[in-house]
Symmetry: C2
Subunit: 415 residues, 2 copies
């Protein structure tokens, strides 16, 4: 079938179509221990259950004093106070500071009653029971109020936040040992095509091993989701439909990685149309690599027909599937969401680009002097050799004609 | 102890000192199945064991022909060939193309003997047994040679490469089912300080929960390493030494997360000195947050005394520990190694920075119109509130005095 008969759409439209078709994940919540919550997405706003530090606390090593006793103190006119005790770490401060007195205190120690500031040890000199202060302090200096770190009832984290090391630490600090997170989405992956054999099998004449199942399973895991592999179906409509329908029933989304021929793509389109409503929304994307991508939604679940070429399949995964999975995971979009790691490099040759489509040019990278050089990887197909050599890609937006040799480009790192 | 008596070093020097002290990981190799190799680091150069695709292959849907039969063909003067068969996907091509003949072929099909090019289906019109070609082809057009994707014996991946989805796919495509990778490094994490209690315990007066163990365990895992938690030791030299020595014996690196007081730091320094040679190399870094970091190497293993403040501890982890772990994992440094994800934003207020140290200013981020605004998070301490709100950091290098309100900055995303 020639492409003229197919419905092609632009990438942002494809993303929007799919995101718009997704069900609300709000009721897909599970409770996990905070220790296991790393990488999970918060399913409810999290409000601080208590004040932190919970007591008036010194932020310096030094002496807890009444600030009034230090007013005007300086190198030329030191103040002298009587040291009447020491606050031990992790213990209550069982003393009271009255006029003319000071108490030894460490960073993190409880402020003793009567004291309202801490003089840093660097500004003191101890001699017997007397401490000399060469700098004055104001009330509150070097002291943390009981709710100054975190106030009870304040919003700590919003729903949709991914819990990373800082958040896991904060949960521990507040004694929150269990947390509500969204369920991890499951993505079903299968390959189709009469020429495809499992990686463990020696290919016969005209056969090739299944690259995409392994690559896409790894990509799904890297995106923080669970992958389920459904193997290879030959070019048999009924078998593909049965397997796909099973995958769609088991999973939150399905990727059918196509054989390379147009015939298989047509068959996959038929299967996607038969799996549920509304069915196939588009037959391709104005994207290179990745044009022959089938976009379907079947009864509220996304089902995608991916190109057979491995580099194309992974490109479509990154561009289309990653935003989709982010939404399925319940991630709230925020500043920086989806921004890739980038390096600046100079193109070592020109690349032309067809108008009317977004092009992702795979490049290898190497250092030359202090700068990076990006070499476009050209070839007849986006096969394994491209996968092996590409360390980055350069985005050539629609309307830009290509990249010039010597041009400085932002290279998105592929990982 | 005042800082004047301590040895402070710059961050790059600290990284270099630690990296230089590490043992060679070359003999720390294990063999894993390719399916489980995702995220692992390749321990040997990987050479392609066979040619791919391994047969002469069409890269288009169309007709396999003798290019000579199409010379000069065009819209005005089409060439006509007799269609004598079809190559089925995944099957050998059991026919021969002689002068005046063509064979139907799909993308990925085996080229039949006699044919040396493929005419794309878009440039043909079939009528009965005769195909009309409106465009000529040259020998080799739309055909992939047997070793054109990957040539047997060629270097596919170099030692030290992290195996991501593209590499996992390539391994599958080549039928490589097991792969040699470096052992995953183990990092021991412990907290010290008389005021620290486990997260599950209600803190008494003057006590706080252990934030750093949970945060650092998560950070170690995020860095692709294994974390082992050794709990909390109080401010007791012998107990800390016993636990630390055990951790150092079990693990490839140890982090002792300090109590907040100078006394605990001194004790930790003593323990690090007693654990092995050469012992403590530096007592701090010209870095904010993160200055009070103890850097030691004990009998070939790095041992670090981290600041007690959680945001400081995580900053030191990112700046110092992540490069160290990358080397312990056997990762070969390459273009883009260690480059963080970044967004551009405008500072919504000025921040001054002390000369002579690298400063990492934590910021929260929000959208205003089309642009991002970065708000520096200021406060007395790098406590839990800072952790909770910071979504990024702005790097103020040594020698730069600060950031101006309205200045455009690169914000490194914290995750």
């Amino acid at each position: 079938m020639a492409d003229d008969f197919l419905r092609l759409i632009h990438l942002p439209q494809a993303v929007e179509l799919l995101l718009g078709s997704l069900p609300d994940v709000d009721d897909e919540v599970e409770t996990v221990s905070s220790e296991e919550a790393h990488g999970r997405v918060l399913a409810r706003d999290l409000v601080a259950p208590e004040d932190l530090p919970g007591f008036e606390r010194s932020t310096m090593d030094g002496y807890a004093v009444r600030a009034a006793d230090t007013f005007g103190a300086g190198e030329g006119l030191p103040a002298y106070l009587e040291v009447v005790g020491e606050v031990l770490m992790g213990r209550p401060a069982d003393m009271r500071v009255v006029r003319g007195q000071a108490v030894r205190i460490s960073t993190g120690g409880v402020m003793p009653a009567g004291a309202d500031a801490v003089v840093m040890v660097e500004n003191t000199e101890l001699s017997g029971n007397t401490v000399e202060l060469v700098k004055g302090v104001a009330p509150g200096d070097n002291v943390l109020r009981p709710d100054e770190d975190v106030a009870r009832g304040s919003l700590l984290f919003e729903k949709g936040l991914v819990l990373g090391p800082p958040q896991i630490g904060a949960l521990a600090g507040l004694g929150i040992d269990r947390v509500d997170v969204f369920r991890i989405p499951v993505v079903g992956v299968m390959s189709t095509g009469d020429e495809i054999v499992p990686p463990g099998q020696v290919p016969g004449p005209g056969q090739v091993r299944d690259v995409n199942s392994a690559a896409l399973v790894a990509a799904v895991r890297q995106a923080g989701c669970e992958a389920r592999a459904y193997g290879i179906t030959g070019d048999d409509f009924d078998r593909l439909l049965t397997t796909s329908a099973q995958a769609l029933s088991d999973c939150d989304a399905v990727i059918i990685s196509g054989g390379s021929s147009a015939g298989v793509r047509d068959m996959t389109a038929g299967v996607l149309a038969a799996m549920g409503r509304p069915g196939v929304l588009a037959h391709g994307i104005y994207l290179k690599p990745g044009k022959p991508t089938l976009i379907a939604v079947c009864d509220g679940k996304p089902a995608l027909g991916f190109p057979g070429n491995p580099a194309s399949a992974l490109a479509v995964f990154r561009e289309l599937m990653v935003p989709l999975l982010r939404k399925l995971k319940g991630e709230a979009p925020g500043p920086g969401t989806g921004v890739p790691r980038k390096v600046e490099a100079l193109m070592d040759r020109s690349v032309s680009s067809a108008a009317g489509r977004l092009e992702l040019v795979p490049v290898s990278l190497h250092l030359e002097g202090d700068g990076l050089i990006a070499s476009p990887i050209l070839g007849k197909s986006n096969l394994i050799g491209t996968l092996a050599r590409a360390r980055g890609q350069v985005r050539v937006p629609i309307g830009v004609e290509g990249l010039e040799q010597g041009q400085s480009v932002d290279v998105e790192l592929l990982e």
